[in-house]
């Protein structure tokens, strides 16, 4: 075989290999989504969204409390996580050359890499232990900690995208720097900051590990935020490892709803970034 032919064959083989790799990477996605749709849709009904879980042995029931619980937990996480995260992002973008900034940035990256189960232990020790009760607060706190670095870093990046001449124009008109930041910089980057927040929400809404021993789970409606609360991911986990067929069906339905929730959040991010997200209004 001539050298040219050998080189051509090697090239073809290499190209085919990369295509095969891509196919192998996408195959699980197709399989997972496929199973979710076929198993989930058949188990979904109105009861799933309106009923409480039924006791073992009775079929039917739903995950209404878990759906509400997940929304409550995400709300709590946002109340705590967004202000701190966005504030940190503003600090990093506006005072990026201060001596503190590299340390903050480094810590945000470290926190982003901390396993979520470790955050769960942290929230357990700080909130569950002193109060002697699993609580929605503890779960929300754990999720907020996970959100923090994501929100902070995307906010920083988005603020940095704002053209410097906008700031200069505002300062030149005599507007104080802090009002310039609030009224010009942050307002211009609003779409980007919202995107970051939504990404963080999408990320934490599927988190299970940090909720296992903070929000714990609840087969009924939660009574206030100082007690255990149910959530979709934990409910899916509990049902998936149970030995009951009916619960397995519910777990698939729950997974489908959870994925739809996350998909909806991510989708609205795409719409936001495509349509309204213009750096210069």
């Amino acid at each position: 075989m001539s050298l040219a032919a050998r080189r051509r064959i090697a090239d073809r083989v290499a190209r085919a290999t990369t295509v095969a790799c891509t196919a192998a990477v996408l195959a699980p996605l197709v399989l997972i989504i496929g199973y979710l749709l076929t198993k989930g849709v058949t188990s979904l009904n109105l009861d799933f969204f309106t009923q409480l879980p039924k006791p073992v042995g009775e079929t039917g029931g739903g995950m209404a409390n878990a759906i509400v619980g997940t929304l409550v937990l995400i709300g709590l996480a946002c109340v705590l996580g967004l202000p701190i995260g966005i504030g940190t992002g503003v600090f990093l973008a506006e005072y990026g050359h201060s001596r503190l900034a590299p340390l903050v940035r480094f810590c945000a990256d470290v926190l982003n890499g901390v396993p979520s189960i470790v955050i769960g232990i942290y929230a357990y020790t700080l909130i569950v232990l002193p109060w002697k009760s699993f609580s929605a607060y503890a779960g929300g706190f754990a999720l907020a900690v996970i959100m923090l670095p994501i929100v902070a870093r995307t906010t920083e990046e988005m603020l940095r995208l704002v053209p410097a001449n906008l700031r200069e124009a505002s300062l030149a008109l005599g507007v104080p720097a802090w009002r310039t930041t609030l009224r010009v910089i942050i307002r211009t980057a609003r779409g980007g900051i919202i995107t970051g927040a939504m990404l963080a929400i999408a990320r934490v809404s599927g988190e299970t590990a940090p909720l296992l021993f903070t929000a714990f789970g609840n087969q009924y409606w939660h009574h206030g935020l100082a007690g255990p609360i149910s959530s979709l991911p934990v409910q899916i986990y509990t049902y998936a490892i149970s030995p009951f067929d009916d619960w397995h069906r519910q777990a698939w339905a729950g997974a489908l709803v959870l994925l739809a929730l996350i998909g909806l959040t991510s989708f609205s991010v795409r719409v936001l970034t495509r349509g309204r997200f213009r750096m210069v209004r």
Partner: protein, 343 residues
């Protein structure tokens, strides 16, 4: 740009990225109050406020470490180094050796890397070097979609789809061909180390792929063009120009994937079989550091037991932080645009 303006900023690109410290800018900010050189009150309050929020993040990171150390202090004092070197985990007998979990984390993560790395690099090369642009966008979107699926959904799929496949197809096939090797011998339950590593591999592929993709895109096109101009085929171009240039960054991408795999909890817990045991067989049920915490934390009945689990959390934290920091350093060397910027 009016050139007759009284306060003339430096001309050219420098102006675009000018910071507030520029001397001409100080003139602008103080224009209203020429007597005062101090920043106005609002500015100071705003700065203190945002700095305070940033310090909160530092405090959170600091207190995560502090809390874990404090809550495991008794365990650390009681067991010392035996904690990570002995392999007997028997809460009833108050014996706590975390070696099986460290082993489980290590083996499952490395096995996952062995499966995920070739696939990820292949996919990243396809995306950055070979795919036509109309394929590139949807494929990278789909790969990113893999990263948005929650861990517990992977676990669910693992329990009801992958585990049965493992029991009746993949496992028997592997044992039929490679069964004479110790890692592939032993009873195949469906759940176990190999199944966990497969789920992990699927989960870390999107991370490695997207970082590797970025790294390959950072390779200057002059490198590629030079190789092509010398008559190289695409594959030779990749081998001669792209891969050597991106090597450090790809190692960083792999480390990021490793960091993810080590800390991954739910999916692993659901398919690894949860046995506090070290076995040479990849079909044997095992446990990882994350999965033992998820499984036993709420069932820990006495203080020392909880402390031991927190200490495992501490070990897990230290390992992931070290892996992640190393990964960042490696990726920055490539992805940071500053020429030859090794910082």
């Amino acid at each position: 740009m009016g050139s007759a303006h009284p306060i003339e900023p430096p001309i050219g690109t420098k102006m675009e990225s000018q910071s507030l410290d520029a001397p001409w800018m100080a003139t602008v900010t103080n224009a209203r109050r020429p007597t005062s050189r101090r920043p106005n009150m609002g500015d100071r309050i705003f700065r203190v406020l945002t700095t305070g929020l940033a310090l909160t993040l530092l405090a959170v990171v600091g207190s995560v470490v502090a809390v874990l150390c404090y809550e495991s202090a008794d365990a650390i004092r009681t067991f010392g180094s035996a904690f990570v070197t002995t392999s007997k985990w028997d809460p009833v007998a108050r014996e706590f050796g975390a070696l099986p979990f460290i082993y489980g984390t290590l083996v499952s993560s490395l096995l996952a890397l062995a499966q995920a790395v070739p696939l990820s690099i292949g996919t990243a090369l396809f995306l950055s070097e070979l795919a036509p642009s109309w394929v590139r966008a949807p494929v990278s979107f789909l790969v990113e979609l893999l990263a948005t699926i929650p861990s517990v959904v992977y676990g669910l799929w693992g329990i009801f789809v992958l585990v049965p496949w493992m029991r009746s197809y993949i496992g028997p096939a592997l044992q039929g061909t490679l069964g004479f090797l110790p890692p592939f011998a032993g009873t195949n339950y469906g759940v176990g180390m190999l199944t966990a590593s497969m789920i992990l591999a699927i989960m870390i592929v999107p991370y490695i792929t997207s970082v590797a993709h970025e790294v390959f895109q950072a390779v200057p096109s002059a490198q590629r063009e030079a190789a092509l101009a010398l008559g190289a085929t695409r594959w030779e171009m990749i081998r001669l120009a792209v891969l050597p240039y991106g090597r450090t960054g790809v190692i960083g991408a792999i480390m990021l994937g490793l960091g993810r795999a080590i800390g991954e909890t739910m999916a692993v817990t659901m398919v690894i079989g949860n046995r506090a045991d070290m076995s040479l067989s990849l079909f044997a049920p095992a446990s990882t550091m994350a999965s033992i915490i998820a499984n036993e934390f709420t069932e820990a009945t006495y203080d020392l037991y909880v402390q031991a689990l927190v200490e495992i959390g501490l070990v897990l934290l230290i390992v992931t932080v070290v892996v992640n920091v190393l990964a960042r350093l490696l990726v920055w060397r490539i992805a940071a645009p500053a020429a030859g910027g090794v910082r």
